[in-house]
Symmetry: C2
Amino acid sequence: MSKKITVEKKVLSENDRLAADIRKKLEKQKIVTLNLVSSPGSGKTSLLERTLKELGNKFNMALIAGDVQTENDADRLKRAGGKNVRPVITGGACHLDARMVTRALDEMNLKGVDILFIENVGNLVCPSSYDLGEDMKVVLMSTTEGDDKPLKYPSMFRRSSVLIINKIDLLGLSNFDIKQAEKNARTINADLKVFEISCLKETGLEAWYDWLGNQVTSKKGKK
Amino acid sequence: MSKKITVEKKVLSENDRLAADIRKKLEKQKIVTLNLVSSPGSGKTSLLERTLKELGNKFNMALIAGDVQTENDADRLKRAGGKNVRPVITGGACHLDARMVTRALDEMNLKGVDILFIENVGNLVCPSSYDLGEDMKVVLMSTTEGDDKPLKYPSMFRRSSVLIINKIDLLGLSNFDIKQAEKNARTINADLKVFEISCLKETGLEAWYDWLGNQVTSKKGKK
């Protein structure tokens, strides 16, 4: 048992070392880097599609789209106007790790990029343990998932800086209580910045776009 | 690297050995055992609540409710009439394993039990790799998740025998195409038995109850 723990520790340290290298590299180029995490089907790809369409002419955006199998998400992002999209197929692994991101970045052109989105594998547990060198994790949940998810999967909500509640157009059609969901999330992490949106109906997205713009301005302003 | 693979192999073999013991024990007692797997929020607990209410007087049901944190699901199952409910908090682990199930079963009274439901952690990746000694895995997906989930998370759909598509009351309110979802699922696993249901509106559940009853009859009939 002690042997197993030792090995896991070593793997994590290797990940942390690579993530620190990624962070240094992206910081130098003043690229805002967001690691999007959620259950499968909460709307990570839909949010990125909307963001590409709305901000594609304003900001230079690069995207890494992680999935266990298929390049479906990367294809959707390209169709939405993404010109710098890199699929990463994990081939069974339940999360992206810093090694996968390092390899992807090595093959991408980062010159002039303002924002790098890393769309993680749909999984509310494992990706929380892997630093990818991001500025912050953005966790999505949708109104069809149950408002107690932050309590049941606390690590992901604790390690995220932003919570996006998607599919608010479906509020009232299930037992989901959005106030309770936010209360549960803040019990785990009082500092969460929360957005309530619907990608399908394009509601609530202006605040998200404004926030993104502020992140870019703030990063560029840094010496 | 080779060292890491060796350790993982050893852990999996240990799980398989424990799962075989569980299977033997439950088979001897002629208990139909189903391992419920899905993304967080697809409706595993809701399905079990409905099933307890409808079949609670007909069959003796035992339930193991796995979660990363909280006993919320176990509490819901008890409120729905579950008299033999055992919560398992994984404390961070992204799946149940055979050791956790062995421990839970040791503390449960299995005398006269017809059906054992094991509600796994909400995660469409990792639980697919862990045999819990079940007769079969039952995978749930909901109509709000995206119809390409079987292609993106193939292992879970390949290793399941039953697919339950929940929240059909929300069909038409998103881009989810149920025919395409089933086609995708059958591309991965042609033998899947499919049920289309809504736990909230209580539609499509009769076929599921009938199927469950047939599983019990079939198991009891075995010498």
